[in-house]
């Protein structure tokens, strides 16, 4: 006879653990299966989390020694060319005080482990080093449990929550959701660079526990549809750069070359100077957006987080969408248990609730954005350099009058990107996010 419990969750990432916490709070017997040696050992993200969403799972997270690296008080956006770039920064005292932990950085290996411990304290069993190899189904096709790679490895449950991330071996095998196309997946590489705590606080002009996040667009992705980020941790910096998988293949770029180049950019290099590389990671990100979210429920199962392609590339929202979708999935399961109905109709409430939440609203708002980026590669190749040249010309003091400079700049920009094209980019950009 195989083991059984109320709910089996595949994956101990933010989606799975959030769901497990909510289920345990309602006395639902839950087992989480994680293929890594410990939760977080296989996970990667840029490294920012949102306090609002975490508090809905663990209200007193800050008091429970949540391993927060730095509280973000300043957000910067850079638009880079090869030799420099524009910078826009916003800082606000409210993020130092009343709205502390609005956004903060974490290291996933430590955070995910801490998060899983919180679930463990609520009575969830988090079983690590165990790979789910297949879904068990009854004659009608309803999912009734999972099979793992251990001996006597079957585990039966009323509901299975698939929170196994973008790179799901289970999806590939069982087809519970289609495998994403290369153009709907980004490949990101990350390097963690160690620096003394005081050096970081000085370089970024922040108090010891506060930090800065920088999103970096433009030529750093070498013409790829992608983005770079630089986040401050306690005594390290997270550098991430990534792009569309299809672009990587098309441009024959190697991820490690991309990040090495990124580190030598004139705006990045002084910030990481003297730092020692500590870790090197890589991961896929789901970037298909609204139109590529698969059906997230069926008879006996639900899908949450990256596995369900719930990811907002524009607002660096992966982990928090995972957490919120996990929470909503758990609430749906609790209702289903009360009704003793685990059919697709009963669990379908999940899709409706997601639609009513910010997750689907945001994904819908930006549904045209991934397509927009794909169709306007000027944003990543020609525009950064022409805009940078214009600024360079304007700021170089050489006795030429400003009017001449202005028309010279315009001419230069238009020689690379026509006026009509520029207008189209602006219009389509606005349309894709309105």
């Amino acid at each position: 006879m195989s083991e059984c419990c109320d709910v089996v969750i595949v994956g101990a990432g933010p989606a799975g653990i959030s769901a497990a916490c909510i289920l345990a709070d309602h006395g639902v017997e839950t087992i989480v299966l994680e293929r890594g040696e410990f939760p977080g050992s296989k996970n990667m993200s840029g490294g920012v989390l949102y306090g609002h969403d975490l508090a809905r799972i663990i209200p007193d997270f800050a008091e429970r020694n949540c391993p927060i690296e730095r509280n973000i008080v300043e957000s910067r956006i850079w638009f880079t060319s090869k030799e420099g770039g524009y910078s826009l920064a916003y800082r606000d005292r409210i993020f130092e005080e009343q709205r502390r932990h609005n956004v903060f950085t974490v290291g996933r290996a430590r955070f995910d482990r801490w998060f899983a411990e919180q679930a463990g304290q609520k009575g969830v069993l988090v079983v690590c080093g165990t790979v789910v190899t297949d879904l068990l189904k009854d004659e009608s096709g309803k999912v009734r449990g999972v099979r793992t790679d251990r001996e006597q490895g079957e585990l039966e449950a009323k509901v299975v929550l698939l929170a196994d991330g973008i790179n799901s071996l289970l999806a590939a095998k069982t087809g519970f959701r289609p495998e994403p196309d290369p153009e709907h997946v980004a490949l990101a590489v990350k390097e963690i660079i160690g620096l003394p705590e005081e050096t970081i606080s000085e370089r970024f002009n922040v108090a010891p526990e506060d930090g800065v996040s920088i999103e970096i667009l433009g030529s750093v992705t070498r013409g790829m549809n992608g983005v770079g980020v630089l986040y401050t941790n306690k005594n390290s910096l997270s550098l991430v750069i990534g792009g569309n998988l299809k672009d990587f293949a098309r441009l024959r770029l190697k991820p490690y070359e991309l990040i090495e180049d990124f580190k030598t950019h004139p705006m990045v290099a002084p910030l990481i100077k003297g730092g020692k590389p500590r870790e090197y990671l890589a991961h896929w990100l789901p970037e298909g957006g609204y139109d590529h979210v698969p059906r997230l429920y069926g008879d006996g199962y639900l899908i949450a987080g990256d596995s369900g392609m719930l990811f907002n590339a524009l607002h660096r929202e992966g982990s928090n969408m995972a957490m919120v979708s996990g929470k909503i999935a758990a609430e749906t399961i609790i209702q289903a248990i009360q009704k003793s109905d685990f059919s697709s109709e009963s669990l379908g409430v999940y899709a409706q609730r997601l639609k009513d939440s910010f997750i689907m609203k945001d994904l819908k708002k930006y549904r045209r954005f991934p397509g927009f980026l794909q169709k306007h590669e000027d944003i990543f190749n020609t525009l950064p350099d022409s805009l940078s040249m214009a600024a360079r010309d304007m700021l170089t003091v050489d006795g030429v009058d400003k009017k001449t400079k202005q028309s010279r700049s315009w001419k230069m920009i238009r020689s690379k990107t026509s006026r009509l094209r520029l207008l189209r980019i602006l219009f389509n950009a606005w349309r894709s996010v309105k």
Partner: protein, 287 residues
């Protein structure tokens, strides 16, 4: 039949980094694992239990988080996990550790007589290989170290036959029970826990025994009972390499030179059956 396994939680030294400036271990971010030799000890105990029945108790002295290694032992087949945890146990050297473990074994022995204790050969953090032998001495058990295989086990007639590694080869010993084994890595390849056992191990309770429970003499526990003091720690000097022979200047010459050095070594010559003092290099060329 009752087997006791003694376990230690250690930092994963396979992953260890040395701070080049201070020459000390970087402990930050190091995983804690079950000492690999102790994992083999558990496997060996489980195999004996599968063949002869009985019961396995896993013992571990350490802080509360060390209970994870006891759970691991239970997921593999140990019946009970007992954590010896008390502030008074902290800072123990091998003398105090073996005392604490011996007290715990005596208590276990009262309920179900212990036939066999299995320990790892050594822990990968301290590498002393003293705690097992110390425990055997304190309990007056037959002491069998560096065990590579259990050839036969006969609890009825109180006999065990094992194979152990010695400098010159192997030794097969038959000895009386109760005995204590310290095992080598090759003695049993650890299994992977089955899913039901893994889940059951996470649900089981771990008993925690303090100094009162083990009826310990305060003067023999922890740092108080530890005469060993670590005065200084340092990295060993880098090894100097042996002689080098430049093959580029002439392969034959280089081989000859190296053979000369090997045969000049009396022990090597004897092993190879060559009378000492024969200058092999010239001999082989016939001049």
């Amino acid at each position: 039949m009752h087997i006791v396994c003694c376990l230690k939680q250690v930092p994963d030294t396979a992953d260890v980094k040395i701070d080049p400036e201070t020459n000390t271990l970087v402990r930050e971010g190091l995983e804690s694992i079950l000492n690999p030799y102790d994992l083999v000890a558990v496997e060996m105990a489980v195999r004996l239990k599968e063949k002869h029945g009985g019961r396995i108790s896993a013992l571990c002295m350490g802080p509360p988080q060390a209970q994870s290694v006891l759970r691991q032992a239970m997921s593999l087949g140990a019946d009970a996990g007992i954590l010896l945890s008390d502030r008074a146990f902290a800072g123990a050297d091998t003398l105090a550790t073996s005392y604490t473990l011996a007290q715990a074994v005596l208590i276990l022995n009262r309920k179900t007589p212990v036939n066999l204790i299995i320990c790892g050969k050594q822990a990968i953090d301290g590498d002393t290989a003293q705690t097992g032998p110390g425990l055997a001495t304190r309990l007056d058990y037959t002491q069998l170290t560096y065990v590579t295989a259990v050839e036969s086990f006969d609890p009825k007639n109180k006999l065990i036959r094992i194979k152990r590694r010695i400098e010159e080869g192997q030794e097969i010993l038959e000895a009386e029970l109760p005995a204590l084994l310290t095992v080598e890595l090759e003695s049993a390849r650890p299994r992977r826990a089955s899913l039901p056992e893994l889940i059951a191990s996470m649900r089981k309770d771990i008993e925690v025994w303090d100094k009162k429970k083990i009826e310990g003499d305060a003067n023999q526990l922890g740092i108080k009972g530890s005469p060993t003091w670590v005065r200084k720690m340092g990295a060993p000097p880098p090894r100097t390499s042996g002689p080098r022979f430049e093959a580029a200047k002439g392969l034959r010459e280089a081989v000859d030179q190296s053979l000369d050095i090997i045969f000049a070594d009396g022990f090597m010559a004897e092993e190879l059956g060559i009378p000492t003092g024969v200058h092999h290099g010239k001999d082989s060329r016939g001049n």
